[in-house]
Symmetry: D2
Subunit: 141 residues, 4 copies
C-alpha cells in the first residue's frame, strides 16, 4: 500500500460527525459515506468562505470525477476530521484532494479526490471561476 | 400548530452536523434526514453511556415506531442540536422523545418520537432491559 | 399489535428496489430507509401523473408530519412493493397513507403516513391545490 | 473526455430505481448516489449468484478503492440500468468495473470501478477466493 498522507499535507481541517447509518452490515463506515464527507468538506469550505451561494449564486459546481482509497476501518460513533487541499486549478475546474482522519490522529484512514467543474446555474455551461472564488481558495493551494 | 418544545423540555443535548446530502431539491434538509438524526442521537447516548455495545452486546434495540413533526426549515450547512428525553420505559421497550434545534435556538424546528424494543441479538426476541441499561438511562427521565 | 394492512387497503402500488446501504449493522433495512421509500412513492406518483413538476412547477410539496410502524424485518436484496392511498385532502394539504410489502405478500411489513402542505415555490406560503393536482389524485381516494 | 462505454462492454445488467433523495439541491442525482448503485450492483450479483452470504458467510468483501467519472446528468424518477464486468481477479481481490445507463440507452452516463478484498469475517484478514466464488464470477469476465 502507498504511503498514507498525514495532516500536514493538507491546508484545511473540518471536524466530521459520524452517524448511525454510516455503519453498514459489517459494522464499519460504508465506502459510500466517505463521498458524503467529501461533498460536505468541499461545499462547507466554499460556502463559509463566501465563494459559493448554493441557493442563489450564478455559478454552481458540478462533480465530474471522484475517487477514494480506503486504508483502515472507522465506525460510528468515531469522531473524524476531514482535510482539504487543492491540487490543480483550471479555467473553470478545480481538483480537490481530501483525506479522512480519526480525531487527533496523524495518519489518514482514507484519501480521495473530487473534481468540480463550475457552470452557469441556468445554462449549465462551464464558466470561468469568479474572482471571489479564486480569492477564497488561495489558502487551499 | 401545537406549542413547540424548548430545550428545557429535554435532558440531553448532542450537537449535530448537517451534510451536503441532507438538502433536497428544494434546498432544505429533507424530512428523511431527521430520522437519521434521531437514530444518531439515541444510539450515541446508549453507546457513550455504556448501555449498548452495537458490535458485540447480547442485547440490541429494534425500532418499532417512529414519528416526526416539522415546524421550520433548516439547511446545510446549518449547525444543529439534537435533544433527547425518555417518555416511557416498559419491561423491554423505551419510548424516546426527541427535538431538533438550530444551534443556540430555544424553539425546536422539529419534534419526534422513537420506540425501541430491546431484543436478544441472536433470537431477536424481546428481553428485559439489563440493569446497566436502566442505570444509564436514569438521567434521561 | 394492531391489525396489519393488506394490499387491498391501498389504491396504487409501486415496486421498490432495496439497496446495499438500506441494511444497517443489524442486517436489516434501517428504520430511516422506509421514509426514503415513502418520499419516493408519493413523489413518483405525483410526477408520473402530471400533478407535480419538481424542477419548474409553481407549486411544491413540503412535508409537515410523517410516521411509521414497523411490523416485520426486511433486508437487501429483498424485492418490495410500496402502497399508497389518500386519507384526507384539505384546501392545501394532503394526508397520504402508505404501506410496504415484500413482493407478492399480502400483509404489510410497515405502515406509515406522510402529510404534504402544498406551497408556492417562491413565497413558500400554502396555496390551494391546483385542479390538475386534484384530478391526478382522484384515483388514490 | 474519453470515449464513453456502451452496454456491450459489460457482462451483466441490473435495472436500478432512482429515489427522491438521490436528487440534490441542483436537481440531479448527486455524485455520491452512484457509489450506492455500485455497492448494490456488485452485492446483488454476488448474493443472487450464491457467491456471498452477507449475513453468515465466512468470507466478506471489504472495499479498498472506488472511483467514478460522470458524463451526463440523471434525475429521479429516471429509470436506470447498472452494468458490471470484472477487470482483474487476484488471489483475494477483484477489480469490478461498472457503468450506469438511462434505461435502454446505449451510452453510459457514468463509469466507475470498485475493488473488493475478500477477508475472513472474524479475523478480517485477506483470504483466497473460495471456489464457489470463482465459479459464480466466470460469467463476468
Amino acid at each position: 500500500m502507498t504511503d498514507r498522507a498525514t495532516r500536514n499535507d493538507y491546508k484545511h481541517i473540518l471536524p466530521l460527525q459520524t452517524r448511525w447509518a454510516d455503519n453498514d452490515i459489517y459494522g464499519h463506515v460504508n465506502n459510500v459515506a466517505y463521498y458524503g464527507f467529501f461533498d460536505t468538506i468541499v461545499n462547507e469550505y466554499l460556502i463559509s468562505s463566501g465563494a459559493l451561494d448554493i441557493h442563489k449564486g450564478a455559478v454552481i459546481g458540478l462533480v465530474v470525477e471522484t475517487g477514494c482509497k480506503y486504508f483502515a476501518p472507522i465506525a460510528f460513533p468515531d469522531g473524524l476530521e476531514g482535510a482539504l487541499r487543492i491540487a490543480h486549478t483550471g479555467n473553470s475546474s478545480i481538483r480537490y484532494e481530501l483525506a479522512i482522519f480519526k480525531t487527533g490522529a496523524d495518519e489518514a484512514v482514507a484519501e480521495g479526490h473530487f473534481v468540480h467543474v463550475y457552470v452557469d446555474r441556468n445554462t449549465r455551461k462551464p464558466t470561468a471561476l469568479p474572482d471571489a472564488f479564486r480569492k477564497a481558495l488561495q489558502t487551499l493551494t
